[in-house]
């Protein structure tokens, strides 16, 4: 084993450099650009010492130590930004806003990667990973509800839009997960059919991959006249909420995007069953349905779930675009923010989206690992 972890060395150098760029900014109000404040100018020494110690401990070749170093680093930058906000706002005007700056974001990335790198090496079992995810989310919730970061500009944006924020979250999840559910209900049987009939597969998969190629904004846009037409011509469509603008076109577009990964991975998962196994299953007298549920599905489940993971992460991201066509979700904050050049409003939309996508990815990876046959995970 080496004396120093090479990635740790890179983290230490980059982290050290990041300590020398502005850690926070202070602005007179929410629109104007602020001026940067260095981390040492914030005068909260324990946190600064902690960050340096964490970068140092990150050099260790022992992954467990690096894991704790990363966690310590994250705790220190949070404490620093919390203390820093108090200090900066103490003698600034009523409309003054303070935000984390490049130094904070850079160190956030460095310490997160330190943790990720250590976890890759430790390779924890799925259930332990689930535990770690819960701990991380709990820590985040504590920081959020304790008001530790309440003085930051993004928190101010949140406070003035608290109700909209939670509505946006609900809409965002409805869009991303609802469309996923519909795509699974349509795509799974379609995948089973494609697996059994080569002709259907050759026609279906290229078509779905073409759909996937269309740029999202174009797809959302083209849905508008289509659904407007459905709303006016099909009786009863308008009553169930189908309209040319808003939630419906966004939802349909997301379903269309989701079909390729769902159908493709269903086919790939069912194909992954070893030929000898399916021949034996047939030979010993399993009916077609029994083969599907007892052999093909359990064996193909990891690949199938990987398809669901792809769709979930993809849809959480694409649902942002719904904000452009009045479909709600975090996209509305992002695009409002872009219109008003209000950075913190952009962040209020973008950060939760990124967080949702990350949590979904980690969660689905755990499920995929759990779905692997026992004998495979035992190795």
């Amino acid at each position: 084993m080496r004396a120093v972890s090479p990635p740790g060395l890179v983290f230490a150098i980059v982290g050290g450099a990041l300590l020398c760029v502005p850690f926070m900014t202070l602005a007179a109000n929410r629109i104007v650009a602020g001026h940067g404040v260095m981390v040492w100018a914030l005068g909260y020494w324990p946190a600064l010492m902690g960050m340096i110690a964490a970068l140092g401990a990150g050099l260790s070749p022992r992954p467990t130590l690096r894991l704790f170093a990363g966690a310590l680093g994250l705790a220190c930058i949070t404490a620093q930004v919390s203390q820093g906000a108090d200090l900066l706002l103490a003698d600034a005007g009523d409309y003054a806003r303070t935000s984390p700056a490049a130094g904070f974001w850079g160190l956030l990335a460095v310490f997160s990667l330190l943790i990720a790198d250590a976890l890759t090496q430790l390779h924890p079992r799925p259930l332990l990973r689930a535990g770690l995810l819960i701990v991380a989310l709990a820590a985040l919730a504590v920081v959020f509800w304790s008001g530790l970061l309440g003085d930051l500009s993004i928190a101010q944006e949140y406070v003035s839009r608290a109700r909209q924020f939670w509505t946006a979250l609900a809409q965002h999840l409805q869009l991303a997960l609802g469309s996923l559910a519909v795509a699974v209900v349509i795509g799974f049987p379609l995948g089973v059919l494609c697996h059994r009939r080569g002709g259907l597969r050759r026609a279906m998969l290229p078509m779905l991959s073409f759909l996937q190629t269309i740029p999202s904004l174009a797809m959302f846009g083209i849905m508008i006249p289509l659904l407007a037409w459905v709303a006016t011509t099909v009786p009863g469509a308008r009553e169930i909420g189908i309209a040319g603008i808003g939630f419906a076109p966004a939802f349909v577009a997301l379903v269309l995007y989701s079909l390729l990964p769902v159908v493709g991975n269903t086919v790939a998962g069912l194909d992954a069953v070893p030929p000898a196994t399916s021949d034996a299953a047939r030979g010993m007298g399993l009916s077609a349905t029994q083969q599907l549920w007892q052999v093909e599905l359990p064996l193909g489940l990891p690949v199938l779930l990987t398809g669901v993971r792809i769709v979930m992460v993809q849809n959480i991201g694409l649902a942002v675009i719904a904000g452009l066509i009045g479909g709600g979700g975090f996209g509305s904050f992002v695009f409002q923010g872009l219109n008003q050049t209000a950075t913190d409003l952009i962040l209020l939309g973008a950060l939760p989206t990124v967080l949702l996508a990350l949590v979904a990815a980690v969660l689905m990876d755990i499920l995929v690992d759990l779905a692997r046959p026992v004998s495979e995970t035992a190795r």
Partner: protein
Amino acid sequence: MIEIDQLTKRFGETTAVDSVSMTVETGTITVIVGTSGSGKSTLMRMINRLEEPTSGQVRINGEATGTMTPHLLRRRIGYAIQGHGLFPHHTVARNIGAVPRLLGWPKAQIAERVDELLTLFSMAPDAFRDRYPGDLSGGQQQRVGVARALASRPDVMLMDEPFGALDPIIRHRAQEDLARIQRQLGSTIILVTHDMEEAIRLGDRVAVMDKGKLVQYARPSEIIANPASTFVREMLGDEDRPLRQLSLMHVSDLIEAGDADGVAIDADASLREALSACLWSGRDALPVAQGGRITLDAIRAQAEQPA
């Protein structure tokens, strides 16, 4: 008894199996042997209707299979294949109990049957029952595959190159195991192989297939003595024929009175083994453990080309 009657299978232009008729007696091992593409696997797969015949009929104990529901028919027929085809996500016990479970046997009876079969295949039930196929050696996987095929005491057992993936030493043991278990249980087995050696060693009767046609169907000794065509002769391998012939006969057939020096040979051993022992130790005669001796000259006389 299984009667195969004018069975034919065509894939488009090619005829894989061409009007084959043969009868398999209950309680025997029948080996179908041929080169790849000879139609031997297709012939076997038509018996449990993994392939549907183009024409012709298969009857099991007088009952035509064509009228049965395919997957119900298959539950009555054991099936073991090369590379075993075990379910990697199920334990050994669950794999072996698969067909009994399909047939709705009570749990306790299935468990009992699984343990019985594991013991039969010299695998301690307590040690193997709850393991997964991925944790077993190739030979063990193969035995579990055969045990699974036997689990429901099927009328017939079909085996498609069951030992094809095993290395020579393990293959030899597996063949001996199969022969022993078949004698013990009196099962009816139809086995497909490309290995004439295996066919001769295991088969009560051997069916030789060439280009979709059944070219000879006879006892192994008959096939060695009177190959029906040049193809059968080639399959036998001319230079190995005397040795194959010797491998079918036992020391007990040639015991004569008298003494000989050196290590004794068992009366149950084949003449081929006796020949080997003579050549290896440079002796002209071997003592037989049960009394008497066997001479190299007597063995040599048996290996001569029949007139």
